[in-house]
């Protein structure tokens, strides 16, 4: 899988630092995610991967540094969380965060409609144009759900809480795709899945990529990373310790040391 060296930078973190009361969760982190690639972040637990995602969505305030997005290099840390999705970013969560009592379809609809028309008057009057808009949104939502074959769409009127674990993860991905982002952030998309299901998710990620979304994912499952990632970043102690193709990174001494300790790295 050759990475396209000429691709433009979509997301750039510059000297990003997050200090949790003395613990440096992210430490002077600089990296660039290229448009059109699937990029993976690996690293031991506590190395700052999820914190990095939370900083991108501005769920945390950074201690210092910038996160620049898109051609206009907008600093995401200047935007409130609810405006980041509209910039073209959507994420999944390591611990699932669906809307459990809303239906599968409604879960997707939220992602599509949150920046349009939450008006009070239009809710009361319910003009014709709005009804048409609702119908169109519903159709598009169903189309997005059909990305996973029958699995989600056949449950579209059931509460999200009634889905199986793997399908909940799929719904999280569908919800991201529905918001039409340029960059999709996947936080451990196959955590807790069996090998068959993992293979399915690999296909799904490639499918999303083919649709033109750039993907940045955090994953511990090396099979998945090897299978999909064009480029890999390895994190340790909140900073990037290696970067490159999966092969380069997985044999990098610093990465082996981070996972297995100093002695293993010497061999």
């Amino acid at each position: 899988m050759a990475a396209d060296q000429t691709a433009a930078t979509l997301l750039a973190s510059e000297a990003l630092t997050k200090n949790f009361g003395g613990v440096l969760a992210v430490n002077d982190l600089s990296l660039e995610v290229r448009e059109g690639e699937i990029t993976a972040i690996i690293g031991p637990n506590g190395s700052g991967k999820t914190t990095f995602f939370n900083l991108i969505m501005h769920l945390y305030d950074a201690t210092s540094g910038q996160i620049l997005f898109g051609g206009e290099r907008r600093n995401l840390l200047d935007l409130p969380t609810h405006k980041i999705n509209a910039q073209g970013l959507a994420r999944t969560f390591q611990t699932l965060r669906l809307f459990p009592n809303l239906t599968v379809l409604e879960n997707v609809l939220i992602a599509m409609s949150s920046h349009v028309n939450a008006g009070f008057l239009s809710a009361l009057v319910k003009p014709k144009s709005l009804r048409q808009q609702d119908k169109d949104a519903e159709e598009k939502a169903l189309e997005t759900l059909s990305m996973f074959g029958a699995r989600l769409i056949s449950m579209c009127n059931e509460p999200a809480s009634s889905l199986s674990y793997a399908n909940r993860r799929r719904l999280e991905i569908a919800r991201c795709v529905a918001s039409q982002p340029r960059l999709i952030l996947l936080d451990e998309p196959v955590a807790g899945m069996n090998p068959t299901e993992t293979r399915g998710v690999i296909e799904d990620i490639q499918r999303i990529h083919e649709k033109g979304h750039t993907v940045l994912l955090i994953e511990h499952d090396m099979k998945l990373v090897e299978g999909v990632a064009h480029r890999v970043f390895a994190f340790d102690h909140g900073t990037k310790i290696a970067e490159g193709s999966f092969r380069d990174v997985s044999t990098h001494p610093a990465v082996i040391e981070a996972y297995l300790g100093k002695r293993a790295a010497r061999h």
């Binding site: 809307f99 009592n101 939220i110 992602a111 409609s113 949150s114 059909s146 918001s179």
Partner: protein, 428 residues
């Protein structure tokens, strides 16, 4: 948050019933409604202490039993869903009929009006708590704001009730906004405590800001609403029959309740309502998908408060007297209990909760000191056996076309080897 249960409806597409079947279904449905209503009438007309206790036990047993009979439950729900319009019309007819049954007992009509006023307020709190998941334990603040604003406008400035009513609502909405702005930095239990404190402080102000509220003297001589010179305390006469003037207030409150129900339904089914529910379900996820949580929470708070104020304004002009004792912590808790016992988020449930919690304590007056003990006992029993409320929140299923979904599946071109066998017809 309460578990939401889902209505089993194969509704929507086409009504394939023959005329005879339709008539039979509607007769059964209407019959059940009339029977339930008759039981309700008997219940509120009871005077004897032992009979009242018996009736109360009957209600609790009914509420508990209802939850234990899922078959009966889904039967009723299916019937209701199929003939929704019809059921609504029957219910409305029965509610219009109600005061005519008690022409010789105007007190009961007055209670009916009071129940409707509390239903308006409970529906308001339902927007804040049921839709958006924000626990507000100071709802009496908005009740008071509406009552004081509209009554003082009428008493001091001679402003008509019809102008005072919306101003009362808006004043209350402002008080909702006032606490929401700072309080929404915190959530859950902390928010409950902040609103609790707000309610206590405001009640102290009601007692001490005498230039605005007349303190513990209360606002007196509040004029009744009037239309074209006819005021609401003048009984309407039809031929020889003189209808008690309480009926005027009953119908006023009923109309406003129906409007509030309509607004609640529209809000719930709108984009706004869906975003509120998203906040209730998972605030972080909602924010990450573009929901402006802070703004929507403030809207939810103010909208809920608005209806609290509307209820307050009607209350003030009906009773003709406003006193700080009307707006104590117990009032807030009663309104909260109406929403929780009825079923958070369920509009019909909340109205039933409001009616029950207004009427039951009144009917228990025979017991004097034992009144609150019995009432509390009934609440405990219901919460033990029906923690999700009498009518749990239910999701509206969308009417989707099975064919379209099946086409979409086929087009997706995925043969899901490990997916469970597809149902022949997709459930919609």
């Amino acid at each position: 948050m309460p578990e939401v249960d889902f209505i089993d409806t194969q509704v929507a597409r086409e009504d394939t019933r023959t005329l005879a079947e339709k008539a039979r279904d509607r007769l059964a449905l209407g019959g059940c409604q009339v029977a339930l209503f008759a039981a309700f009438l008997v219940g509120i007309a009871l005077e004897d202490a032992i009979l009242v206790t018996g009736f109360l036990l009957f209600i609790v047993a009914g509420a508990v039993g209802w939850g234990r009979m899922p078959k009966l439950n889904s039967w009723a729900r299916n019937h209701l869903a199929r003939d929704k319009r019809f059921a609504q019309l029957v219910l409305l007819a029965l509610l219009v009929l109600f005061p005519f049954v008690f022409l010789d007992n105007p007190y009961l009509i007055h209670l009916g009006a009071l129940a409707a006023i509390f239903a308006i307020m409970a529906l308001g709190l339902n927007i804040t708590l049921g839709f958006c998941g924000l626990l507000d334990v100071g709802f009496a603040v908005y009740f008071a704001a509406g009552a004081y604003a509209s009554s003082q406008l009428a008493v001091i400035f001679d402003v008509s009730f019809w102008i005072g009513l919306p101003i009362g609502g808006l004043t209350a909405a402002f008080f909702g906004f006032l606490v929401a702005w700072p309080a929404l930095r915190v959530s859950d239990h902390y928010l409950a405590l902040v609103t609790l404190g707000y309610g206590l402080i405001m009640n102290l102000l009601h007692r001490n800001f005498t230039f605005l509220t007349h303190g513990t003297d209360g606002v007196i001589n509040i004029p009744p609403p009037s239309i074209f010179g006819w005021d609401f305390v003048t009984p309407i006469e039809i031929g020889d029959l003189e209808l008690p003037f309480q009926m005027n207030f009953y119908f006023l409150a009923l109309i406003i309740t129906v409007l509030t129900v309509f607004v609640s339904i529209r809000l719930r089914d709108s984009n706004l309502g869906r975003q509120w529910e998203a906040i209730r379900e998972d605030e972080v996820a909602a924010r990450c998908f573009g929901v402006n949580v802070r703004r929507l929470k403030i809207i939810a708070f103010s909208t809920g408060a608005f209806f609290g104020g509307i209820g307050g304004a009607v209350f003030a002009h009906m009773i003709g007297f406003v006193h700080p004792d009307n707006f104590v912590l117990l009032t807030s808790i009663m309104i909260l209990a109406m929403v929780i016992i009825g079923g958070m988020g369920n509009i019909a449930g909340v109205v039933v909760g409001a009616v029950a919690l207004t009427l039951i304590p009144e009917r228990l007056r025979e017991f004097e000191d034992l009144r609150m003990l019995l009432f509390g006992g009934a609440l405990v029993l219901i919460m033990i056996y029906r923690p999700q409320g009498l009518f749990p929140n239910s999701r509206r299923r969308r009417e989707l076309q099975a064919e379209k979904i099946n086409t979409l599946i086929a087009e997706s071109g995925r043969d899901d080897a490990e997916a469970p066998g597809l149902p022949d017809e997709v459930k919609v």
